[in-house]
């Protein structure tokens, strides 16, 4: 891109993440996705006269947890404020949010691009309620004959995470988002289901000539809902702003919207038309005081975060690449760690998890949490290989059988007779013992009583706990008796 040579891009992000509490932020309604229109509602989230909010403590727990995972300061004293604006999806025509005293203060996370590490600062993160959803008969609210509102989403808890304008390229932005989503998933504060709109992004972009310190005039593009939209939107916006600047004009400070179909951004409202939200402290909710004990209680519930986990797996002998792949999603890393408690060869385990396990899961479009093979079962299979019971090749087919039946490896091996004692020397020793112990049967067989061989085979199988290869036993026995 030509522009990249002329201008430096400066980007900051606001990420709205749905917190996966069971109930809404200010009432007892379920946060479950879907459901008939306006069935997950009550007087509080419908903004009925006389209704009052009660803060869901679990939302605070989740916000503290996310804040700690993002290295944020947790405010001892924070409060809620009303953000006033009229829109039909907003049941009270104000959104209860946090304005000047958010729950999470300064923090940040580290990204890595081509081996180079960079710290991206987080300015703040605050709790707020989601709005309802407008359903139009036509394209937009102004062109529709009819619009209805579904308030099922109204009051679903959100955490808005605001970054510093620290990102200088689109890959940095994407790395930041991936890292952020990964951390949120790890802490299990959000399932981050982008396709259900549980994460939304506002992108602030400005350009400035390389080598200058002052920030250029920025635009904010609101309500993007996928990484690819963010990427495309930024590509478009950077090019657009560069064109404006190259034409000797000024970028207009404004709020823009992303048109997914056309792949362009459009003016939503200018600075002059910007909403005056008339923020003021929410009088229906007392300030939120979070003491040290509360923070420490939540800190104890923090899982090992991706960076720490990666480092640990590397000390177990995994390559940086393997460790990154395993820890990409928490569920996979958890599976790996559980298997590791039964099977200690991390490198072999990683190969199986990243290889055949992942292939099986992917081809069945199954997530690791729903895997029909448990971590313990996978570990047992690998143990069988170590013991020499199974060859690696047979083990792969056993794994497939395990996937379709959820049976233990040893069970399958037994049922299918896969655990063969194929060592002739070992079998001959056993056969010799059985023949010596049963001279009468040997006599009978040699006298033409074919049935006697059945008895002898049975004795050999008994001696090998059924693991001797019956075909080989028959063959060796006949050779012996011949």
């Amino acid at each position: 891109m030509v522009v990249a040579n002329q201008f430096e891009m400066v980007c900051g992000l606001e990420v709205h993440v749905e917190l996966q509490t069971k109930t809404k932020i200010f009432c007892g309604c379920t946060t479950e996705f879907g459901g008939e229109q306006n069935t997950h509602v009550c007087p509080v989230c419908l903004g009925m006269p006389g209704a009052l909010p009660v803060l869901n403590r679990e939302v605070v727990n989740f916000a503290i947890k996310a804040g700690l995972a993002l290295d944020c300061e947790i405010a001892e004293f924070s409060k809620f404020d009303r953000k006033n604006y009229f829109y039909p999806d907003l049941s009270k025509n104000y959104q209860t949010s946090q304005f000047d005293l958010p729950i999470c203060g300064k923090g940040g996370l580290e990204i890595e691009i081509d081996g180079e590490k960079k710290w991206i600062g987080i300015t703040r993160a605050h709790m707020e309620e989601d709005a309802g959803k407008l359903v139009h008969s036509g394209e937009t609210i102004s062109t529709s004959n009819e619009s209805s509102v579904d308030y099922n989403r109204a009051g679903v808890p959100l955490l808005e995470i605001v970054s510093e304008p620290d990102m200088r390229s689109i890959p940095e932005v994407l790395a930041y988002l991936e890292k952020l989503v990964q951390i949120l998933e790890y802490t299990e504060v959000s399932d981050c289901r982008l396709e259900q709109g549980s994460v939304r992004f506002d992108v602030n972009v400005s350009l400035r000539p390389f080598g200058t310190d002052t920030l250029g005039i920025r635009t904010e593009t609101k309500n993007l809902n996928s990484f690819s939209s963010v990427r495309r939107c930024m590509e478009y916006e950077v090019a657009r702003q560069a064109r404006v600047l190259n034409a000797g004009e000024n970028v207009v400070q404004e709020t823009r919207t992303w048109d997914e179909g056309q792949g362009i951004t459009l003016t939503l409202r200018s600075k002059e038309e910007a909403h005056d939200y008339r923020y003021f402290p929410e009088p229906d909710l007392p300030p939120l005081v979070i003491d040290k004990e509360w923070v420490e209680r939540i800190r104890k519930t923090l899982p090992e975060l991706p960076a720490a986990r990666r480092a640990r797996l590397q000390t177990l002998g995994l390559s940086a690449y393997d460790a990154a792949v395993i820890t990409q999603a928490k569920a996979m890393a958890d599976f790996f760690d559980e298997a590791l408690t039964y099977y200690t060869d991390a490198k072999t385990l990683a190969n199986w998890v990243m290889g055949d396990m992942t292939r099986l899961l992917n081809s069945n479009q199954c997530s690791v949490v729903d895997s029909p093979i448990s971590a313990k079962q996978l570990a047992e299979l690998l143990q069988l290989i170590n013991k020499g019971t199974l060859s690696g090749k047979i083990a792969k087919s056993v794994l497939e059988e395990m996937y379709s039946t959820s049976k233990d490896a040893s069970m399958i091996v037994k049922e299918k007779g896969l655990a063969q004692i194929s060592d002739e020397g070992a079998l001959l020793g056993i056969i010799d013992g059985v023949l010596a112990a049963n001279p009468q049967s040997v006599e009978d067989y040699r006298a033409g009583k074919d049935k006697a061989i059945g008895f002898l085979v049975g004795q050999i199988m008994k001696a090998t706990k059924g693991q001797a290869n019956p075909g080989l036993v028959n063959q060796l026995l006949k050779e012996k008796l011949a």
Partner: protein, 496 residues
């Protein structure tokens, strides 16, 4: 028997019920008859619930027939201000906006009074969304003062005050944001308590100004007031501003003794605009308390003069946001228009009355960017100073005393043309709401045939001491025994 019994106090009616001298059905019927007879003139009621009330009464009578123990308020007919939600019963806030609004839930106070076995006679008139001091701002009716039908009952809980003063209910609940219980109690000659902010749940009270609103009882006697507060006060986990304090039995404070009690008279409450006759009446009341052994001296609440501007900034700011939800989308009045924005505008233009619109505009302005610091924030600082004034006064005094209102009830239209004059008459009541402390208005005599009220202010959650002073005063005076005469009929006074 029946017509006499409606003039009696709650505690006397309780005795009548317990001794089967009168049934709850008879009592309820008597009140309904009374409403039919006087309410066409007084217009206290917006909704009368004859059938429901009689059904409730019949149930209580069954209990009485079975000699079950009767609670202090069981079988007692009462009325609720029409901003307290009642499940399945219209709750209009005296606004066109909510003319047909039927809540699917009860306010906590409704639930508590229901649990206490009271009989809900109906919903009573008020200034639209509780904004006003005369009940003239009701969309539906002009409630008249039973002492002089040419005069206002006060407001915003005018209907609730009149219902009790004119024996149209044994007691009632009002709400007080800046004096809306105490001022009409004063104008109508009844007892009205604004409890400490956080003592009574606001859940289901249609909000005017959330940080100031508080529900409280109107009663004929101080004892009745304590009985009703017993029933409605106490922590509600569903109101986050409700306080988990140890609720006492308020009747325990009803002792006829104020010896040694320190009473402060804030000089700022006797400023310009106070009717000298009212001041004289209150002075007589003070003398009574001195004679009974109270230690009375003057004190100062220096920031009082800033209370009115601070109050009208904070109250309107909160109201502008609280009333934003009335947009025609989900419930209430909806005007037809070309598009959504048009519907919003038209609905609010047609659904709200002028005083409500005036306050929404004031509040919106006070919160606007560029003005927030100068208005809202400064008002909050004044609020802190006013609280501090009271804290300092209560280091020296147990109770503060003032006239409840600077004048007696004024005539219809006398002040409604000039909102500012109306606002200024709240000077003796709004500081109490800003400070969040309790205050009670009790009958303290008459000026030219109109009642005056004495206001007693107390420390937060010290309603008990207010009841003690009020009770002592009541036991040693007879102001509260006088009744307004209606339709040429002079009602018998209470039992005493």
């Amino acid at each position: 028997m029946e017509s006499v019994s409606i003039g009696k106090s709650v505690s006397e009616q309780h005795e009548l019920l317990v001794h089967k001298d009168v049934s709850s059905t008879e009592l309820t019927k008597a009140y309904i008859a009374r409403i039919h007879s006087v309410d066409p003139d007084l217009q206290a009621y917006l909704t009368v619930l004859e059938d429901k009330a009689l059904a409730q009464a019949a149930e209580i009578d069954r209990k009485i027939a079975h000699n079950e123990v009767l609670g202090a308020l069981e079988g007692i007919p009462m009325a609720l201000k029409d901003n307290m939600c009642t499940e399945g019963i219209r709750t209009s806030c005296a606004s066109k906006m909510l003319e047909s609004f039927i809540p699917p839930y009860n306010a906590t106070v409704t639930d508590r009074l229901q649990a206490a076995g009271t009989i809900l006679l109906g919903k009573v008139n008020m200034d639209e969304f509780a904004m006003g001091s005369s009940t003239e701002n009701s969309y539906f009716a002009k409630t008249r003062n039973p002492w002089d039908l040419e005069r206002v009952p006060g407001g915003s809980s005018g209907g609730a005050a009149v219902a009790v003063a004119a024996d149209e209910a044994s007691f009632s609940l009002g709400s007080d944001t800046g004096g809306s219980i105490r001022q009409p109690a004063s104008f109508c000659g009844v007892v009205g308590m604004k409890p400490t902010y956080g003592a009574v749940s606001r859940l289901g009270l249609i909000a005017f100004a959330s940080s100031l609103d508080q529900i409280g009882p109107f009663t004929k006697t101080v004892r009745d007031n304590a009985l009703v507060l017993n029933a409605i006060a106490g922590y509600d986990p569903l109101d986050s501003t409700s306080v988990a304090y140890e609720k006492p039995d308020y009747t325990k404070f009803l002792v006829n003794n104020v010896k040694g009690l320190r009473i402060g008279i804030p000089r700022e409450y006797y400023g310009e605009g106070i009717d000298p006759e009212v001041a004289k009446g209150i002075q007589a009341g003070i003398q009574t308390l001195i004679d009974l052994g109270a230690e009375v001296s003057e004190c100062s609440l220096p920031h009082t003069e800033y209370a009115i501007p601070a109050y009208y900034l904070i109250a309107t700011a909160e109201a502008s946001s609280n009333l934003a939800r009335y947009d025609g989308v989900r419930y209430g009045y909806r005007a037809e228009a070309e598009d959504v924005l048009g519907m919003f505008k038209q609905t609010r233009a047609e659904g709200f009355g002028p005083e409500v619109k005036r306050r929404i505009m004031l509040g919106t302005y006070a919160l606007s960017s560029g003005y927030y610091d100068a208005y809202y924030l400064k008002a909050q600082k004044v609020r802190t100073l006013i609280k501090r004034d009271f804290d300092q006064a209560f280091e020296k005094f147990d109770v503060l005393l003032s006239p409840t209102a600077p004048t007696t009830a004024f005539k219809f239209g006398e002040k409604s043309a000039d909102p500012l004059t109306m606002y200024l008459s709240d000077i003796t009541t709004v500081p109490i709401n800003l400070a969040g402390i309790p205050a009670i208005s009790i009958p303290a005599g008459f000026v030219k045939g109109m009642p005056i009220g004495m206001q007693l202010m107390g420390k937060a959650f010290d309603e008990g001491t207010l009841y003690r002073v009020a009770y002592t005063f009541e036991q040693n005076t007879n102001h509260h025994t006088l009744k307004p005469s209606l339709s040429g009929e002079v009602l018998a006074s209470g039992s005493r």
